[in-house]
């Protein structure tokens, strides 16, 4: 028990160190320096010495994946893969908004005859509706506007909207039974990216950066590329919460490259400052930072030092990364003319390949606009035109360059869309609302089994009838491809060994693995 600083006659304040709680919680309490604590302690100059030593320990709180080979974990690496990985790196093509699986890959031939009939109540069950369709008196079935054909030796059905994806179906691992818990964008996209609907948790990329470390000291371990929005599309916001490192050190957060103009601002040194001067300046700043670290012990200071260093190295590495002048003609033939325009999805895919070559561990490309509540017939061709060829080009480019052997590519949105029309259904057009019970995703490359379609939905693409893949299991499977056991990739925070797949049980979908 200790006396409150600012009040000499009030009741003595409860000291956390005397509470009957686990010791690691106490250490964490001392590690998290709130303003109140700071002001409260500032009077006790002598106390700092003791505090600094406490915090020194706290910095070591987060353990990496249990490294059995600790002597050899690299300097940016808290752990090592738990087992020999099939993929060293991953590229995640995130289709924000929720692509309509029924119009793209989940072929339901019987729907054509069900035009404008109501979806049976037995199918819809007790599914929660969004505010956008809850008031609808009818739920009329909207068959896909486009024809489907079988492609490849696997005979996989693909919509006419995806002529390029159709060419690579024999390489893809298509999951028709991905399902999520959330029905609205923000929680669903958080859930898909961080394994939790509430913000504040580290995302997949941050976990990988934390668990596997960097491959190239000159580039960030985790890069985020945003595609320039098309104002015609219904764009839902994406924010840095999605590539946040949460409670992990900020070093592991995704580094966003800008989608227009210079990919990184102020990359070139100002006139009169050469590399030597810049280096000296950074060394001086680092010295000050180290002193602050020794004084205060906030682990975020370490992250700041690392970020200054990274920025310095990126001054040299990013211009080389984004210089596309040496790309052979074959690249432009493959990706198409869009790839020359910075900020397009196609350009980002090309950049993702270049980063894969240069040892970026995880690249997440966001493409917004899939939120087709209305005018599906008008919007989908635009969206597919922007993404179909680029996705195919990325996979093909990785494949011919021998990178697909150890790179995992994931294509996914945050949920699917309903079979019934939102708003008016006409012969020419329809809309589709959010649907969390099933959506189609695909993966390709290191670790996954090529040429399979996993999971099955009912005749309305509404419920999963076979082999569901929950988001948690989807993420556990991605980690498995990269050599991580999702149960071992943990970080102790708030008294819990936190993990990407959450405290709820999750498992690796072995049937998806090669």
């Amino acid at each position: 028990m200790k006396q409150h600083l600012l009040c000499t006659d009030c009741e003595s304040e409860l000291d956390v160190t005397h509470l009957p709680i686990p010791s690691d919680l106490k250490r964490e309490w001392t590690a998290v320096e709130t303003r109140r604590q700071f002001l409260g302690r500032s009077g006790k100059v002598l106390g700092w010495a003791a505090l600094a030593s406490l915090l020194g320990d706290a910095r070591l709180l987060g353990q990496g994946s249990t490294a059995k080979n600790p002597a050899l974990s690299t300097r940016n690496n808290l752990g090592l893969p738990n087992f020999a990985p099939k993929a060293k790196r991953a590229i995640y093509l995130f289709m924000s908004g929720g692509p309509p699986q029924i119009d793209l890959l989940d072929y339901k031939p019987n729907l054509a005859s069900q035009y404008n009939k109501d979806i049976p109540d037995s199918v819809r069950g007790n599914q929660q509706l969004t505010g956008m369709t809850a008031g609808q008196s009818r739920f009329p079935i909207a068959p896909p506007h486009w024809k489907f054909n079988q492609y490849g030796q696997t005979g996989t059905w693909v919509s006419d909207l995806l002529p390029y994806t159709a060419r690579m179906v024999d390489d893809l691992t298509i999951v028709k039974s991905t399902n999520t818990d959330a029905i609205n964008h923000e929680p669903a996209i958080m859930f898909m990216n961080t394994g939790n609907m509430n913000p504040g948790k580290p995302c997949l990329g941050a976990w990988l950066a934390y668990g596997l470390g960097s491959m190239n000291d000159n580039l960030p371990t985790f890069v985020v590329l945003q595609t320039k929005t098309n104002p015609k599309e219904n764009n839902q916001p994406v924010s840095s919460r999605l590539w946040s490192s949460g409670f992990l050190s900020s070093e592991y957060a995704g580094v966003g490259l800008r989608s227009g103009g210079d990919p990184v601002l102020y990359l070139a040194d100002p006139a009169g400052v050469d590399r030597e001067v810049r280096r000296k300046m950074l060394d001086a700043v680092e010295e000050i930072n180290r002193q602050t670290l020794a004084d205060v012990g906030d682990p975020e200071t370490n992250a700041r030092i690392a970020q200054y260093e990274m920025a310095f190295r990126m001054q040299a590495s990013v211009p080389e990364l984004t210089d596309l002048s040496k790309e052979p003609q074959a690249t432009w033939d493959l990706y198409g003319p869009d790839a020359k325009v910075p900020g397009t999805f196609s350009y980002n895919c090309l950049l993702a390949r270049r980063m894969a070559e240069r040892g970026v561990r995880f690249t997440q490309v966001y493409k917004r606009g899939w939120d087709v509540h209305a005018d599906v017939v008008g919007m989908l061709p635009v969206l597919c035109q922007e993404t179909d060829r680029a996705s195919y080009a990325l996979v093909t480019d990785l494949k011919r360059r021998g990178l697909l052997d150890d790179t995992l590519v994931v294509w996914a949105g945050e949920f699917g869309r309903t079979v019934y029309s939102q708003g008016g259904l006409s012969a020419e057009n329809y809309g589709r609302d959010h649907h969390p019970r099933c959506f189609t995703t695909w993966m390709v490359g290191g670790g996954v089994r090529p040429g399979i379609t996993y999971g099955e939905t009912d005749d309305y693409s509404y419920n999963i009838v076979r082999d569901p893949v929950h988001v948690r299991n989807f993420n556990a499977t991605i980690l498995a491809c990269l050599g991580m056991d999702h149960n071992k990739l943990t970080y102790n925070f708030q008294g819990l060994d936190q993990r990407l797949t959450g405290p709820a049980p999750a498992f690796v979908v072995k049937d998806l693995l090669a």
Partner: protein, 470 residues
């Protein structure tokens, strides 16, 4: 019914009318399978309740019968054992008959049929008759009136016992239980080979049979053909069971086999029954495609079905213990040079040589400095480095290499013959190098090489096929 016989048989051996009783009991036993035919249909559940004690009880008569010749032989020295042998023989018969009864209840109740079941049943009946004959002839043997008849009967009974037990074992464990781990030469000598219409390289053999074998054959095989259906050979599969054919070639929608595996899992006709692992979606679609294509025993491919054949790859070979070198490896990781990074937390997975940070400054001399670590390096990432053809000389010493990245380097391939020493190399990336078609020829001698990339090299001119939109 059999219980009644048992009482009458027990006393048969001394009575003058014993011969008649034995003949009567034998007739009853032989008639049993004709009266209560094993038709492959399950009957009342209580039959199985008792029947399932058959595998427990049967050990008692077996033990007693095996003991019998030992006692008889030993009785030559100590006549007291002769009395014991008499008791053992009676006890053997007294337990053999209930065992037979329970066994019959088990088969009749569960609807088991099949050649092995029939043989086991016939053997058991013969065994009981043999025991009764032993009992009849034993008194004459003791009195030295007929010195040969009893020993012959006993020997035959024991042979029947061995054969019957083997048939029973085949029902429980499968007919290949004993031969499964035999060397193929021994198996061939014993004539254990299944002849089938299906050819060894057919789609059926490679893809259909393994599914049936994993999910169906444990109940539908030679030993226990539930519902008269065997799925262990192509011919039996096409022949079907008591309810007719299970495969209609070309018509998956009318094929009963597909119907039964795709029912709701709680349907009582759902297969595999009794909570065994159901077929996966992939397995079902494969069966469906095979049936649709005509259910051929010889076709090697099925239109619309593509099964990625993973080229057989050498499993990763563990590397040796490099703990003595750890300080040096660590020093390298914190320095500015190329790094040696463990593949995983398991040291025997080896090390990766990573140069991406400093690639332009990494040349042949830098590579040569890694020679001492060569036995532990399983992957060398040398893409975009300044190495030249001379590096192949050094790389020849990296005998544990599985993957070698040489893309975007000055390599032309003139020294590729040196790489033949890399016996474990499965991946070689030569994209955007000056590799010529002539030097690629030398790579044919790397036996494990499965993934060779030559994009954008003289050896593989730029592909132009992607120029046209679909």
């Amino acid at each position: 019914m059999i219980a009644a016989e048992k009482v009458s048989v027990r006393r048969a051996f001394t009575s003058p009318s014993s011969w008649i009783r034995v003949v009567g009991a034998s007739v009853l036993l032989i008639a049993l399978p004709f009266v209560l035919r094993l038709d492959g249909r399950p009957h009342a559940d209580w039959l199985q309740l008792f029947g399932r004690f058959h595998p427990v009880l049967l050990h008692i008569p077996i033990g007693l019968i095996v003991l019998l010749p030992i006692l008889e032989i030993a009785s030559a020295k100590s006549p007291a054992l002769r009395e014991a042998a008499d008791l053992v023989l009676r006890a053997a018969l007294a337990t053999a008959l209930p065992t037979l009864t329970l066994g019959y209840m088990l088969a009749y109740g569960a609807g088991d049929t099949g050649p092995a079941v029939s043989r086991h049943m016939a053997g058991a009946i013969a065994l009981c008759i043999g025991l009764m004959l032993c009992m009849l002839t034993r008194s004459a043997w003791i009195a030295h009136r007929q010195p040969h008849v009893y020993p012959v009967f006993l020997a035959i009974t024991i042979l029947i016992l061995v054969w019957t037990s083997h048939q029973g074992g085949s029902i429980t464990h499968g007919s290949d239980y004993l031969t499964h781990y035999m060397p193929p030469s021994v198996r061939a000598a014993l004539g254990v080979n299944i002849k089938d219409t299906a050819t060894p390289d057919s789609f059926y053999t490679h893809h259909v049979y393994p599914i049936l074998d994993a999910k169906c054959v444990s109940c539908h095989n030679a030993s226990s053909a539930k519902a008269g259906l065997r799925l262990d050979t192509y011919d039996h599969l096409m022949r079907g069971g008591h309810d007719g054919a299970v495969i209609s070639a070309g018509k998956p929608e009318t094929s009963m086999l597909l119907a039964r595996v795709t029912l709701p899992t709680d349907d009582k006709h759902f297969m595999p029954a009794e909570g065994r692992t159901p077929l996966t979606t992939g397995e079902i679609s494969l069966l469906r495609a095979w049936i649709r294509a005509g259910a051929s025993p010889t076709a090697t491919t099925i239109p619309g079905v593509y099964i990625a054949t993973t080229p057989s790859e050498l499993p990763p070979q563990p590397v040796g213990d490099y703990s003595a070198l750890v300080p040096e490896i660590l020093k390298m990781q914190t320095g500015q040079g190329a790094k040696l990074v463990p593949v995983s937390s398991k040291p025997s997975d080896g090390l990766i040589l990573r140069t991406v940070d400093i690639a332009p400054a990494f040349g042949d001399t830098q590579l040569a400095a890694f020679r001492k670590f060569a036995p532990y390096i399983v992957e060398a990432e040398l893409g975009r480095t300044a190495i030249t053809d001379a590096a192949c000389e050094t790389l020849g010493a990296f005998t544990h290499l599985r993957a070698l990245h040489l893309e975007d380097t000055q390599i032309t391939g003139t020294s590729f013959p040196k790489l033949v020493a890399l016996k474990e190399l499965t991946y070689l990336n030569l994209n955007s190098t000056k590799t010529t078609p002539q030097s690629v020829a030398a790579l044919k001698n790397i036996s494990q090489l499965r993934h060779l990339y030559l994009f954008n090299t003289p050896a593989q001119p730029e592909q132009t096929s992607t120029r046209n939109a679909p």
